[in-house]
């Protein structure tokens, strides 16, 4: 009934076309991340069977929380074709100011309110990013380099630099509240804290926003082609504000969890780790040019980085060699990733 190539198109899509590994990897790059992750774990387990204890898993899970929250924020910005390096400064800003605030003015503030305020505060700073990105019309990398300096400089020059060692009790208690606890062979207690739950919860929420709401589709649309998206009626301003606001909210949340988990509020913390988080997201299959990626992949990327960083002692790599090993590994993973992805 129609032109031949449309018929062929019909045929080719109708045909299950067999299972092609290359095509699968191209469509789901996070599968590579997964394979790498498993490969490392197997290799480490062979090198040192002590790796195979439940406590390993729990420690990795616990260590992923802050980075994971950051990564979700970075991922959604990356999906919309932007990049953010100010999230660590946002986290440091909110966590420290809030701790000071609670300590000095509202010692009785319930934990839930603290978490909410942190999230809101982070969102506010994120919105500042969003406004600047939208109105200055420059790549967000540049804007957020500026705001990173701005936020951190403001925090350290005007809010304070003193480390807070004794947290408000409710925050300290939250950091220790166990979700799961058992004793390992040497009598050490292994604890999975309750705050761990925040990461999967945030991941699910992010997944839901991206895949079930119009906003999520708008984010990918903007990442695909911002001009076109705006012509089709997606309000770029709304998308930008939401995007950076959401990433800021996640950063604020991550910041306060960082404080609770560490039992100290150090305003110098966090800033400087942003490149690692971006690397994690990219290793999770999101293209740095935007428009692609999945929440699952992002989480796998975070796990990959956390695992690499935490198995070095296990396999007995001397500390002089650790940087070289991590660096080489990132290169190797990236190369593997790219070559696999390119094969179609």
């Amino acid at each position: 009934m129609n032109a031949s190539r449309i018929e062929q198109l019909q045929e080719s899509t109708a045909r299950p076309a067999g299972f092609s590994l290359g095509e699968f990897i191209r469509r789901r790059p996070e599968s590579i991340t997964f394979v790498l992750l498993v490969a490392i774990c197997v290799a480490v387990a062979i090198a040192n069977p002590a790796f195979l204890q439940p406590s390993t898993l729990i420690d990795i899970g616990r260590a992923s929380v802050v980075m994971g929250l950051f990564a979700l924020g970075v991922f959604i910005i990356l999906a919309a074709g932007g990049i953010d390096v100010s999230f660590t400064a946002i986290a440091a800003f909110t966590m420290y100011s809030l701790t000071v605030l609670v300590l000095n003015h509202f010692p009785g503030m319930p934990l839930l309110v603290i978490l909410l305020v942190a999230t809101a505060g982070g969102a506010l700073l994120g919105i500042v990013n969003g406004l600047l990105v939208h109105h200055l019309k420059v790549p967000s990398l540049i804007v957020t380099i500026g705001t990173q300096y701005l936020f951190r400089g403001f925090l350290l020059s005007f809010i304070g630099t003193v480390w807070i060692m004794s947290l408000p009790p409710q925050m300290g208690a939250f950091g220790r509240l166990p979700l799961l606890q058992f004793e390992s062979a040497n009598g050490a207690v292994v604890t999975l804290p309750v705050y761990f739950l925040i990461l999967p919860a945030a991941a699910v929420v992010t997944w839901w926003i991206l895949n079930r709401t119009l906003m999520g589709r708008a984010i990918f649309a903007v990442g695909g082609n911002a001009d076109v998206a705006s012509r089709l009626g997606y309000n770029l301003r709304t998308v930008h504000l939401f995007l950076f606001g959401y990433a800021g909210a996640l950063a604020g949340l991550a910041g306060i969890i960082h404080v609770c988990a560490n039992r100290q509020a150090n305003p110098f913390d966090l800033v400087g780790t942003e490149i690692n988080v971006i690397a994690a997201v990219v290793l999770g299959g999101a293209r740095i040019t935007g428009g692609t990626g999945t929440v699952l992949g992002t989480m796998l990327g975070v796990l990959l980085i956390v695992v690499i960083n935490s198995v070095l002692v296990m396999v007995g790599i001397p500390s002089t060699w650790q940087r070289l090993v991590v660096g080489s590994f990132i290169l190797l993973a990236a190369a593997f990733f790219v070559t696999r992805q390119r094969k179609k």
């Binding site: 204890q53 420690d59 003193v162 480390w163 060692m165 207690v189 604890t191 560490n262 913390d269 007995g316």
Partner: protein
């Protein structure tokens, strides 16, 4: 008539240790109104940033520099130029600094490292696996301390050093993760000797959370106030430190002496607690090495005497 300016430059400004040092500088200023003493430091722990500040101060024309080098080596060239311009250079925590008029140390680094280890060995009952943490492999004093510790441990054949010299980057969280890992890899580990100011916090938290308090010993450099909780709970066996306030005062005192062209002789009293009878030797360069007696080891019972 302008008052001579003594500029103190610390490794990084804003952190508790150097805030404490600043109280020393301020106290010195109060006691010595005939000089102008002030403190500055970089915003990030980066020797290049510190170098810049020192350079700018030299250009500004201060009379004396009292510097706690982030990395002594990086500052050599600049100090040389400063000395050529007639600026008095005094350093602290840099007993290998060549281009300085005087380096002020709170104590002998080898003695300090050995003392920490002796305390650790005592707690461990002179037997068992132990490991060490340093701020970074590039941190000379930290390496000195752990090396002295290793040498001390050789007296006890049953002490076994495993996976030594873990880098903490002075980040309590990173230290915590690494300590957990070590606890996992060596379930039978008995002791930790740490170097950077935050290491006791990270390792202590790991021990505390693992419920190993009392089973694993931890001795390291730390400040009394931040460590208070963990000392109380017993997760930290003992902390070693010197009071940066006193060190700051001592540095400035030496700088003032040198500005006044007075001689700094062995056994001289700098008028600062712990530096009442300093040993003065020839340093690695042309300058002097001024060693005080400011070492403090504190544990649960004694830390309250030094709250800062």
């Amino acid at each position: 008539q302008e008052k001579p300016v003594i500029a103190t430059v610390v490794k990084i400004s804003g952190i508790p240790w150097f805030d404490r040092l600043e109280t020393g500088v301020k106290a010195f200023q109060e006691a010595n109104p005939d000089v102008e003493a002030s403190q500055s430091g970089p915003a990030t722990a980066d020797s290049a940033q510190q170098l810049q500040i020192v350079n700018d101060l030299i250009a500004k024309g201060v009379n004396a520099l009292a510097v706690v080098p982030m990395d002594p080596a990086v500052l050599e060239g600049t100090f040389q130029r400063a000395m050529e311009r007639g600026i008095v250079v005094v350093t602290h925590e840099a007993d290998n600094q060549i281009n300085t008029h005087a380096d002020v140390e709170a104590f002998d680094n080898d003695e300090y490292g050995a003392a920490l280890n002796a305390r650790l060995a005592e707690c461990m009952g002179n037997a068992g696996k132990w490991t060490t943490f340093v701020g970074s492999l590039g941190s000379r004093t930290h390496i000195q301390w752990v090396t002295a510790g290793e040498n001390n441990a050789k007296q006890h054949p049953d002490m076994e050093l495993v996976d030594p010299n873990n880098e903490s980057f002075d980040d309590a969280n990173a230290t915590y993760e690494k300590a957990k890992e070590i606890l996992r890899k060596h379930p039978d580990i008995k002791g930790f000797q740490t170097s950077a100011g935050n290491d006791v916090l990270g390792v202590g938290r790991a021990i505390d959370e693992a419920g190993l308090t009392g089973k694993v010993c931890l001795v390291g450099t730390g400040l009394p106030n931040p460590s208070a909780d963990l000392l109380e709970s017993g997760a930290i066996t003992a902390i070693g430190f010197w009071d940066p306030q006193k060190a700051g005062m001592a540095m400035n005192a030496v700088a003032k002496l040198l500005l006044e062209k007075k001689e700094v002789t062995d056994g001289i009293d700098l008028g600062v607690e712990g530096y009442n009878k300093v040993s003065v030797k020839q340093g690695p360069g042309k300058g002097l090495l001024v060693i005080g007696n400011g070492m403090v080891l504190a544990d649960k019972a004694t830390y309250k005497d030094h709250l800062f």
